[in-house]
């Protein structure tokens, strides 16, 4: 892969130069957290780790009209904009690679494919915090799935060109870029050492598919189910969650019917309910079990790796502390200080 050097003072002009390709989006501060937003590059937070909502929102939006019905005909509907998305960390790019495999298998999703083609992915290196564990999920470095990737070495950045699209995007910006020399390589190696040494959290996922399978009858699920609020936060913030629902909505202003696709969650009660009211997963514990089984076992069988990229969003978001860390520890029968473990189990 081609690697180039970008001097610190050229960083902002370089990002601005990418605007030729499409609207510029990146992580900006919002409240106490971060979100991907359309903004001037000066606003981008280079130290931001996890955004509240992952970058999957650019490819399958939270809510979008996919078909319109007017005068007795269905018509395809999609608004596609060329976008440059800056600041995706390796875990996020790994999640998008899973997303890509998922949405292009069997029946390739035309909406996903068009959005993906209209997006330039510009990755950014990061230093982990106490909720990051991408080192354990083998997603702390990334080799494909980005167009450009920037490694921030303080006084300079290294630019990895990951695709022909990325190559095209930097045409006309080459005056900002230089070839790398031995000093840059040495700096990168010492940065890597520092980065790899700064992980504070360890989640042992080794052997998880078997452990989850064996734990099908474990009381852990009941305990968690008792605490779970079925709010769906975990699935909305998880970068590898893909489930959606489809509903028709009548638009009074334009006399059109919109068939809308929106994010949905397997922890919602109606998720497995069929016509007539039979629910295949009435209990919250059943639905949580489905979520973790699908992440840790299902994806393993289908794609050869678990669908967890170690981004730590569930750890930061779940209001009752049900997250990959507490679940894995509980299933391993390790000590966990999870809030739900301290609850008294009723109806177990």
């Amino acid at each position: 892969m081609r690697v180039l050097k970008l001097k610190r003072e050229n960083f902002l002009p370089f990002l601005k130069g990418l605007e030729k390709w499409g609207e510029l989006w990146g992580p900006v501060k919002k409240g106490r957290g971060y979100v991907y937003a359309k903004a001037e590059p000066e606003k981008f937070e280079l130290k931001a780790l996890r955004t509240l909502i992952p970058a999957k929102k650019f490819f399958v939006p939270k809510k979008a009209t996919i078909l319109k019905f007017k005068n007795g005909e269905w018509k395809e509907h999609q608004e596609v904009k060329n976008r440059v998305i800056f600041g995706l960390h390796p875990c996020e790019i790994h999640a998008l690679n899973i997303y890509h495999k998922f949405y292009t298998r069997l029946y390739p999703d035309p909406y996903y494919v068009k959005n993906r083609e209209a997006t330039l992915i510009v990755g950014l290196s990061c230093i982990p915090d106490d909720k990051c564990f991408c080192y354990n999920t083998a997603t702390s470095t990334v080799n494909e799935g980005f167009d450009l990737f920037l490694t921030d070495l303080e006084d300079k950045l290294l630019v990895w060109v990951g695709s022909p699209k990325g190559e095209d995007a930097i045409k006309g910006l080459t005056h900002f870029l230089e070839d790398v020399n031995q000093k840059d390589i040495d700096d990168y190696i010492s940065w890597r050492k520092k980065r790899d040494g700064s992980f504070k959290l360890e989640v042992d996922l080794e052997g998880m598919p078997e452990i989850v399978s064996f734990s099908y009858e474990s009381p852990v699920w009941e305990e968690m189910g008792e605490a779970c609020l079925s709010c769906g936060t975990c699935t909305m913030v998880c970068p590898t969650c893909t489930c959606f629902d489809i509903e028709d909505e009548f638009d009074l202003r334009s006399d059109e019917m919109n068939r809308q696709r929106f994010w949905y969650s397997c922890v919602f009660r109606e998720y497995s309910m069929v016509a007539g009211g039979h629910n295949f997963r009435e209990a919250r514990s059943e639905r949580l079990k489905l979520w973790y089984t699908h992440k840790l076992v299902g994806f393993m069988s289908e794609y050869g790796s678990p669908a967890c990229v170690g981004c730590g969003r569930c750890i930061a978001s779940c209001p009752v502390g049900i997250n990959i860390l507490s679940v894995v520890r509980a299933l391993r029968k390790e000590k966990t200080d999870a809030f739900w473990k301290r609850m008294e189990v009723k109806n177990a």
Partner: protein, 285 residues
């Protein structure tokens, strides 16, 4: 991998279809014959599906849901569905007259592995609405009679009035190239000429070579356990016992996730599963 371009028809785009005939099979189940409006697509769509597959049927502003195809691809031209009035969409469907439009996507699902059933004896067990997907495979087998060994069709219903395709099966009983046995749990009408009792009672008529038999069961969940026991008694291997399952589905293409069981998507890995799958995937039945 990431640079591949995909040129596909939009699989979310429904096809307009016309209800050409409808009539009630029981007090809450109606039979619909539906023809795709686009002349160029009629033959291709109605002759290329597999028995056991399903279509996503929708009415704009009401909703979309999966329905098993009850017709056979060996008789192309129309799609047939057997629909129970049970929810929002089906209630609306029951209000539609002939010549109304519905919208179809599909066919979806794995269907029955017909190619693996060739040369084998076939044993069907249907209960209630389970007759809908089984009728597709049964008619397919009868239309290609020389491809299969002996064929047994066992069908149970609550009462004679609840038996789907009652008259059709009465006529099929007269054929001597296969055996069709019907039973009802109870007979308030007092005129039922055949057997009474649960469907497993009909197994005493079955004479098949277990190792070389494909068995298919579809019906209410309570039925499976007892029927499967009978299949196993006949010596039919786990991977030759097929069942077709129901789940909530929104896309039919293994994306929306709502039909997921374990790591299988009922819409693409099913709806037909073998007993082996059922034993190994927790939560299928």
């Amino acid at each position: 991998m990431l640079e591949e371009k995909y040129q596909v028809e939009n699989p979310y785009m429904p096809e307009r279809a016309r209800i050409v005939r409808k009539y009630d099979l029981t007090k809450d189940v109606r039979f619909f014959q539906v023809r795709i409006c686009d002349q160029d697509k009629v033959f291709h769509l109605t002759s290329n599906y597999k028995p056991g597959q399903f279509m996503m049927m929708s009415i704009p502003n009401v909703g979309e849901a999966p329905f098993s195809i009850t017709s056979t691809p060996s008789r192309p031209g129309l799609f047939e569905f057997c629909i129970r009035k049970v929810g929002k969409l089906t209630t609306k469907l029951f209000e539609l007259k002939e010549n109304s439009f519905v919208w179809l996507r599909g066919p979806f699902g794995n269907g029955f592995p017909v190619e693996k059933m060739i040369g084998k004896d076939l044993l069907f067990v249907a209960g209630g609405l389970g007759a809908a997907p089984l009728r597709s495979l049964l008619l397919y087998a009868l239309d290609n009679r020389d491809l299969f060994g002996k064929i047994f069709y066992l069908h149970g219903a609550k009462t004679p009035e609840d038996m789907l395709f009652r008259e059709e099966f009465f006529r099929l009983k007269e054929r001597d190239d296969f055996e069709c046995h019907l039973t009802v749990d109870s007979d308030p009408t007092g005129v039922w000429p055949f057997e009474k009792g649960v469907v497993t009672k009909l197994f005493r008529h079955v004479e098949v070579d277990g190792k070389n038999t494909a068995a298919v069961v579809c019906g209410p969940p309570v039925m499976y356990k007892y029927v499967v026991e009978e299949f196993l008694k006949l010596g039919i291997p786990d991977d030759q016992i097929f069942m077709t399952l129901e789940r909530r589905m929104k896309c039919g293409m293994g994306k929306c996730g709502q039909c997921v069981v374990g790591h299988k998507y009922t819409c693409v890995d099913g709806p037909v599963f073998t007993l082996w799958d059922v034993k190994n995937i927790k939560g299928l039945i």
